[in-house]
Symmetry: C2
Subunit: 341 residues, 2 copies
C-alpha cells in the first residue's frame, strides 16, 4: 500500500495535478469550490506530499544537518535540544551525526550533508584548522559554527564566552586566596581549549601571579583525561590548593582522582568546573562551576542559520553568549588563609 500521490488526489477530485499543487501551496487563482473538492480528496486519501519530490524540484529542503562530536556529552545534549526546538518550530527536520572529534569522520559526514542536500549545517568542528566545511559553502550550503570557531570569513558562529568564563573561575579562586592554581584543560586544537587557557592565564596575570607551565595539563575531553591529568598534577605539584577543570566530563574524572588521593574538598583543595550539570548540587560538597547557556547556544545557532537561509547575503555574525559563575561548596579559602578573603 503505497502513499497516495498528487495524481491520486487529482483523479479523486476530478482536477489536474497542477490544481492540487496550487491548493497545497495556497496559490491564488483557485475557485473556492475546487479548493474544497481537493481538500476533501486530500483528507479522504490521507495524502501527504512527498518531500523527496518537492526537494528535488525545489532544490531546497526543509532539513538541517547537525554535526557534533558526541551526543553523550551533556553539553551537546542541551545544545541539540535547543536547535531542535527552533528548527521544528520553523518546519525543519534535523539530521544528526557524531564525529567523535575525528576530522575524517567529520569530512565523511559533511559529504553526507552534501548528498542529502540539506538546507544548512550546524557544525561543532573537530578542528579549527582544516575547514572541510568549505566544501559546503562551495555548494551554497550555509554553515553555522557552534561551540568552536571555524577559520573562514564566511561562517557565522555562536560561542560561549569561554575566555571570560575561565577568567571568572580563576579570579574567583584568586579572590579566595589561592595562589597555586592547577589547570586541567582541553586540547588546543579547538576554540574552547584555546580560550579557556587564555582566560586562566589572563586571570593570573591580572593579579600579578606567575603562569607556571608545570601547573597546566592538557588532555582529551573525556573522564579519563580529566582523571589522569588531575592525578598527575596533584602528585607532581603539591603546592596546588585549587584546580580549574575546563570541561564537565573531565571534572568527573578529576573529582575521582581527588578522592583517590584522599583529599577533601574544599578543605585540601578547591575545585571549579566548566559547564554546569544537573547533578552538581548533589555532590558533597556541591560543585562550583561556570555555567554555559547551553540550550540558548543551540537556539541561537539554529535561529542564525534560519536567518541566513532567508537572507544569504547579510554580513557574517559572531555571537558570544555570556557564562555565569555559580559558587557552591567546592571552593573556599586555602588552608591557613581562612580569613584572608
Amino acid at each position: 500500500m503505497d502513499s497516495p500521490t498528487s495524481h491520486d488526489v487529482a483523479k479523486q477530485a476530478g482536477v489536474s495535478v497542477a490544481t492540487v499543487s496550487r491548493v497545497l501551496n495556497d496559490a491564488p487563482h483557485v475557485s473556492p469550490a475546487v479548493r474544497r473538492q481537493v481538500l476533501r480528496a486530500i483528507r479522504k486519501l490521507n495524502y501527504q506530499p512527498n518531500r523527496t519530490a518537492q526537494r528535488l524540484r525545489a532544490k531546497q529542503s526543509k532539513v538541517l544537518g547537525l554535526i557534533i562530536s558526541d551526543i553523550q556529552n551533556p553539553f551537546f545534549t542541551a545544545v541539540v535540544r535547543g536547535i531542535e526546538d527552533v528548527a521544528h518550530q520553523a518546519g525543519y527536520s534535523l539530521v544528526l551525526c557524531n564525529s567523535d572529534e575525528d576530522p575524517d569522520k567529520e569530512k565523511l559526514y559533511i559529504n553526507v550533508m552534501r548528498a542529502e542536500a540539506v538546507a544548512g549545517v550546524i557544525l561543532a568542528s573537530a578542528s579549527e584548522a582544516k575547514p572541510h566545511a568549505s566544501d559546503l559553502l562551495a555548494q551554497n550550503i550555509p554553515v553555522v559554527a557552534i561551540d568552536r570557531q571555524i577559520k573562514s570569513r564566511r561562517i557565522d558562529s555562536v560561542l560561549a564566552a569561554n575566555e571570560q568564563g575561565a577568567c571568572d573561575a580563576v579570579t574567583h579562586l584568586i579572590n579566595l586566596g589561592h595562589t597555586c592554581i592547577g589547570y586541567v584543560g582541553l586540547p588546543l586544537t579547538r576554540t574552547p581549549g584555546i580560550e579557556r587557557l587564555k582566560g586562566y592565564e589572563r586571570a593570573l596575570r591580572e593579579h600579578k601571579l606567575p603562569v607556571v607551565r608545570a601547573r597546566i595539563r592538557i588532555a582529551n575531553a573525556k573522564q579519563l583525561g580529566g582523571h589522569d591529568s588531575a592525578l598527575d598534577l596533584l602528585v607532581q605539584q603539591p603546592c596546588i590548593t585549587a584546580l580549574f577543570v575546563a570541561n564537565n566530563l573531565m571534572t568527573l574524572g578529576a573529582l575521582n582522582a581527588i578522592r583517590e588521593r584522599g583529599l577533601e574538598i574544599p578543605r585540601d583543595i578547591s575545585v571549579v568546573g566548566f559547564d554546569d550539570v544537573p547533578w552538581a548540587t548533589l555532590l558533597q560538597p556541591p560543585l562550583t562551576t561556570i555555567a554555559q547557556p547551553t540550550y540558548e547556544l543551540g537556539q541561537k545557532a539554529a535561529a542564525r542559520l534560519l536567518e541566513r537561509l532567508k537572507n544569504p547575503e547579510q554580513p557574517v555574525v559572531h555571537t558570544h553568549l555570556g557564562t555565569t559563575l555559580i559558587v557552591r561548596g567546592s571552593t573556599s579559602a586555602p588552608r591557613g588563609k581562612e580569613n584572608s578573603a
Copy 2:
C-alpha cells in the same frame, strides 16, 4: 555554484548518464577502461550523487527516523548514540525528533517521517494505547519500538527487562531487612511505568510482604516529579526505611528531597535508582542502581530495523535485554536491624 550532476560527469567522461550510474552502483557490464574514465571524471568534479533524486527514483531512502521523548534524558542520549553508530555503519542517516511524551507532537512527527519517506522508524512511543505508528505500517514503513511497547501485532520491540530489574532492586532491599519500602514511579501509560511497578509488587509478594498503595507514588518522569513524590512519601509514611525510584531524573529529585528532610543515606533511608548514570559513583554515598544496557538497547533496535528492512516478511521479534543490580553505598540494613541481613 551548483553541485555537479551525473550529466556533468557523463559529459566530462564522454559517456552516457546510464554508464555513470552503472559505475556508481558497481553494476556489471562496464569495461574497465570506461569505468576508470568515469571514476576520474567523478573525482575531478568532486561529484556526489544527489540522494534526493536517488530516493525519488528508488522509492527507498537511506534515512531512519527516530522519535524519542527527550534527548536531554541521559537514558535516551545513550540509546541514540547506539542507534547512530549502527545506522551510520550501514550507511544510514538519522532524523531526530523529541516528542516530549506528547501524543499530538508524536503524531505530527510521524507524519514528518511519512513525508520524508524514511526507510524505517525507531519509536519510543508516548503512549501504548494510541498507536499512531500504524499510519507508518500502512505505508510499509517498518517501526521498531524501543523502551516502550506498542500495542500492535506487527511491531518489533527492544526493551529492558523492566519488571525483573525492578524486582531485583526491591528484593535487594528486602534482603537487607527492609519491610516498609516506598516506590516513586512513572506514569502507567507506558511500559516502563507498568512493568517496574509490577516488579516492585512481585518482589513484595514473593517475600510475603503487603503491597500498600499508600507507599506508592506516581509522577511524571522529571526531577520535580521525583522530588515531590519522595517528599510526600517521607512525610506521609514515616515507616519507610527504603525507597525504590523508577527513573534516573526522578532519583535526582528524590535525593534532593531526602537531603531537605535532613535524612542521611543509608543510615535513615536506603535508596535504589533505576538506570545507571556516570556520576552515580561521585555521590556520597555512591548510588545503588539497576543499570540498563542503554547503548546496547539502541544498537539492537537499529540492528533489528535494518534486519527487517532487508527481510520484511520475517516474524516479529521482541527483544528483552537484562538489567544489572549495581550495589554501591546508598543501601544498607535499616536502623536497628544492622545484623539481620
